[in-house]
């Protein structure tokens, strides 16, 4: 009995061992095959991407024959590849302007990209609405501005964010007011707003000035920092008056942004309001005004800055001392000053000079 039981047990053990070995071998082979297939797919996908990229380059920068052949290749793609070609062109578009961009936009429009983009903005999926907004922005079709402006009120934050940037890419200054309105209520979008308004460039300046002036006159000191920042980035000299008014805004962040913008514009007529702002009760505004006066670089403000170096607020004294370093008459005033921040600025300048 014992012998039979032992041999039966051994038989079952062998069968189990064989079954497990076979299963392990099957798993191993599947794993190897899956990885190999994935690698092959990745290589083929990269190869196709490279071919499409080459065709796009030939189309926009090649000779006449190369461009014609590339157009035929790109137009003949079907199915999944068609979508890939469109995605690659859309990625390339924001980097180009002139004829090259026009050629690609024409190709996409002929393939129905406009209709599909508008349809995407109405999708129930937030990701698809993002894609729609991005595509309309990249294509720069201003007739669809209202469609993208509507997305500024989208419940999904990401869609609002993509719509803000898309409006910047569309290049239509009618987008300025809705963008600023959104920024007043959604502070998380400040950087995106600055990007978008800056992309609109000088065309946005008149509307930016108007909105800023209207709000300041009405005593509304909402989150209009992006308007001030962008007027500075654009270097809009016509904005000096409204930015000078903004220095007195109740909103310290807006007043600071106005001072910084005046510094970037660097016009001598900004000196009187900036000197006056050195007496503002808020340290961030005084520091920004000091920095701006340093950027303008006129010695007219030297005495006022020298007074500020003596004050107790470290950030203000440091900015004033740094600003004095940039003025012709400033160094002598720093050397005559008993302030620790004046000595610090001179020492730092000596170190920088050593590095130079």
């Amino acid at each position: 009995m014992t012998v039979v039981a032992t041999s039966g047990f051994l038989g079952v053990s062998w069968i189990l061992l064989i079954v497990f070995s076979v299963l392990a071998a099957v798993c191993l082979v599947s794993l190897v095959v899956t990885r190999a297939a994935r690698d092959v797919w990745a290589v083929r996908s990269e190869h196709r991407r490279e071919l499409v990229r080459r065709s796009i380059f030939d189309l926009v920068m090649g000779d006449e024959d190369e461009a014609a052949a590339a157009r035929r290749d790109l137009e003949s793609t079907q199915g999944r590849h068609r979508q890939r070609v469109q995605d690659q062109i859309l990625t390339m578009l924001p980097k180009l302007r002139g004829d090259s961009r026009d050629v690609l936009v024409t190709l996409l429009l002929a393939r129905g990209a406009e209709r599909r983009a508008v349809a995407l903005t109405r999708s129930r999926s937030a990701v698809r609405r993002c894609r729609g907004a991005f595509q309309l922005g990249v294509l720069g079709l201003t007739e669809h501005l209202p469609v993208v402006v509507r997305l500024l009120g989208d419940p999904a934050f990401l869609v609002r964010r993509v719509a803000v940037r898309a409006l910047g890419n569309m290049g239509d200054p009618r987008a300025v007011r809705p963008l600023l309105l959104l920024g007043e209520h959604d502070h998380r979008l400040t950087r995106d707003l600055v990007y978008a308004l800056d992309r609109l460039g000088a065309a946005a300046a008149p509307e930016l000035r108007t909105v800023l002036a209207e709000r300041l006159a009405a005593g509304e000191h909402l989150h209009l920092d992006p308007a001030a920042v962008v007027l500075g980035l654009i270097g809009d000299r016509d904005a000096i008056d409204v930015l000078a008014t903004g220095l007195e805004s109740e909103n310290p962040s807006l007043a600071q942004a106005c001072a910084e913008a005046l510094g970037r514009i660097s016009a001598p007529e900004s000196i009187p309001p900036l000197v006056a702002a050195l007496l503002d009760l808020r340290p961030n505004v005084r520091a920004a005004a000091a920095h701006a006066l340093g950027s303008i670089g006129s010695s007219v403000a030297a005495d006022s800055l020298a007074d500020v170096v003596e004050e107790e607020e470290p950030q203000v004294s440091r900015q004033a001392a740094e600003a004095l370093l940039r003025l012709t008459a400033g160094r002598a005033l720093l050397e005559a000053s008993g302030s620790a921040y004046a000595r610090e600025a001179l020492a730092l300048d000596a170190v920088r000079g050593g590095r130079r």
Binding site: R53, F57, V60, M61, G62, T91, M92, P94, K95, L96, R97, G98, D99, S100, R101, G201, L233, I234, G235, R264, S266
Partner: protein, 123 residues
Amino acid sequence: MARIVIADDDADIRELVVFKLRHGGHDVVPVGDGAAAVEACTAEKPDLVILDVMMPGMSGLDAARALRQDSAMDGLPIIMLTARAQESDIEQGFEAGADDYIVKPFSPRELASRVSAVLARSR
């Protein structure tokens, strides 16, 4: 034909520039940041360098200053390629030693014309 170093951290822009310039018969050395551009200029002795302004690590402005301080690079023409087009930004580029300025998004045709003009002036 000229030897040109192009430094831009955006691979698409770099490839667009490389394609356009090679198509025009130039020998192009692409790199991804300012430090690599300075190294490439030292090693390759190019006829022209194109520098993006905003790059990780050493910026294009810093690279331009470094090249201007190197006596071995005397007279090397520099074109800045940048997204910032305000007067003050352009002024900064010229102060750093740039000979010309191209604003992004860029037109490949304009790029080729400016490269030809800068090369012609430097010869």
